[in-house]
Amino acid sequence: MNDKRKSPLKVVLHGMDGRTYKTMVMYLQGPCKGAAIVVEDIDAEVDMIDADSVNAKTLLEQKQAENSVRPIIVLSLKEQKLENVLYVKKPVRTAEMLDALAKAEAMLTARQKSSGNVRADRKLFINTDERKKTSKHQTAMHLDEGNFNAFMGSIPGLDVNDPKQFPNAFYNPKEYFQGYFQSACLIAQTKKQVLHLNSGWKLLIIFPHNHEVWLDADDKQLRSFAGLPINNLSGEGMSLTPASAHVLSAENAPEKFHNLDAFLWKLAVWTSRGRYPVALDIHKPVFLKHWPNFTRLIVTPHALRISALLIAGPRTLPDIAEILKIKPQYVFAFISAAYALGLIKQAKRQADEIIQPPVSKNNERQGLFTRIISKLRGHKT
């Protein structure tokens, strides 16, 4: 390995069972003297594949198809002669492993030199003190019905709480900044590259490695922009570029970092303004994959109740409002935000439509629980 390298090479392991995985982690730490460490896929610089595993061929093809700058090391009993792939024969010998890691590092450096973007990208693994990212770690804003409408905004001429107007109470995220932002995140995640979304508005940088976004605007500005439909003409002006030129701005203002999920959640609430996403059929049940991380999200009215109900079983949107005896706008706002994060799915099984889960029986402790919640929220009891 190159002595000049200060930090170990970051390796992700593929095709290894739990035991082999742990052994390899210890092997790199021990006999290889920390020349490389095992990290998660998104943080990795090198792919290491067990070529004798069941799905090795598919894995290798997939990694090669990604055309990433990451070098690939394969471990195999049989000699492998594959283009642009480093081979270490099993049983693995330390000298051969170190040699492969050194070659991988050289390949990485060469590829970075030939790709200005990626080189810049590697510099952008900002190891900012996590604690300075105050926005990212601040506790949730909890909204009740009284202050929610002013916070969220509404659509003139549309009463989303009127069942007769449900067919028109939808919105298409793709017609707003939300849609462009989501597409940009997807690209940044796929390319594993820090990107700048050029919208003609405020500077916005997506950091896929840390699952963060940096925006040079406050919530008030974001809320206003979120509600503006973006027509095709102005949408064409949106573009993505490597964010290298702007990284200093981000480094100098850590308080403007947001967790990507928390950012997308509020963006969806402000874009929906009480409507539901067009992709959902409100007459078919939806289910919630898991609870949202509510302590770091805006807690919309009745969001905890809606989550608990949907975790218990799939429901249609009007059904949720009816069971919980709440205005549909609160259901639609929550569903829009959770859908943006990929937490809401339309139930596909016919059984979900026919066999509705029973509504929970009247709990004898209901009064007590309600008093505890009231106390926790600081209401006078």
Partner: protein, 178 residues
Amino acid sequence: MSQYKIIFTGPVGAGKTTAIESISDVPPVKTDAAASDMTKNRKSSTTVAMDYGIMNLAGGEKIHLYGTPGQERFDFMWDILTTGGIGLILLLDNTRTDPFQDMKFFLDSFQEFIKKTNVAIGVTQMDLSAKPAINDYHIQLQGMGLKPPVFSVDARVKNDVSLLVQSLLYSLDPELEE
């Protein structure tokens, strides 16, 4: 008058004592002692019996908040503490070597209690160690057939602890009114 209690559990240093302090109406009774075993690598003092706090409700009702000692050698107390409990708050320290192993240990240990009631999980110290992420916990839980609330929690912040306890109560009965 009936006595109701909520149990806080989790490994050493996960923030159980602090979480109880955040929502208790009285200064909590702490039974800390200077750490003398492997615990001292993580904090200078630790809970050797239990923590105890109270939430006073309207009408004179009291909710007793019990924190279990984090060290496994006190697990004989856990059954006693959970008897008659409303539900379980499990706090996990994200800076520990294997928080998933901790999670599995406590979910297994309190399995019977969770079956009868429910659990909500708070992950602390995420500002020091962002990984594993909350989604990673859900993936682990999915493998165990569980879908409890899992929140990032700063045990010093009342709102974080409050939301976690609320999620536990709504899990027990989604139709509770706000």
